[in-house]
């Protein structure tokens, strides 16, 4: 089962947990990505996400399905925020369940790695003296 969400509202760890929990599973691994107050030494004040929603949802689902297949997971939940976020806000939650925990850890790490590589979502960091799209330019 895959549970995919792109939302302008605050994300819920409990919702992701509930989406993957199952009596057959002994291990659930979650990754929660939050907004840091600095990046490469610069002070970050806040952040905005831009997203190509239809393709982002399609890519998130593709990654979740591939993770289930590759790592033999029971269920995968991928929730990502959109819009303006403050320091400490949750940007992304990944939750995966499996019968044994090694697969849960490996699958969860794989999902967030892939998400950061291919899902069309862009982060604009606002510093005290300007803003820039993260990773866009050398």
């Amino acid at each position: 089962m895959e549970d995919i969400l792109l939302s302008a509202d605050p994300l819920s760890i409990d919702a992701c947990y509930a989406a993957v929990q199952d009596p057959s599973c002994g291990g659930i691994c979650l990754f929660v990505g939050t907004i840091r107050n600095q990046n490469k030494g610069a002070v970050v004040t806040h952040l905005e996400f831009s997203s190509y929603d239809a393709m982002a949802l399609r890519e998130m689902r593709r990654i979740a399905e591939a993770a289930r297949e590759m790592h033999g997971l029971h269920a995968v939940s991928v929730h990502h925020r959109t819009g303006a976020l403050a320091i400490g806000d949750v940007a992304v939650i990944i939750a995966v369940s499996s019968v044994h925990r090694a697969a849960a850890f490996a699958g969860c790490a794989w999902v967030i790695d892939e998400l950061k590589k291919s899902v069309p979502i862009w982060k604009k960091e606002f510093l005290e003296d300007g803003s820039y799209w993260v990773g866009a330019r050398p």
């Binding site: 393709m55 990502h80 866009a136």
Partner: protein, 81 residues
Amino acid sequence: MIQHRVLAFAAAAEIFGGSSCAVALPAGATVADLRQRLLEDHPALGELVTFAIARNELYALPEEVLEPGDELVVIPPVSGG
């Protein structure tokens, strides 16, 4: 010639000066042709670390032939998560 509408997000939208631009290409033109034309029309795209082109919500291969009505999108380096 076929008129294509090309959408852009994030750094690419700032380079376009808007969320889309129009590109006219001969019938049979490929994604590689579109890329080259975009770089000619908007040289600042060359300042990006890289960019991809999505066609109908999937990452497109250079040799894919563009069809009228395709949803074409410039994808600058992603940074979600």
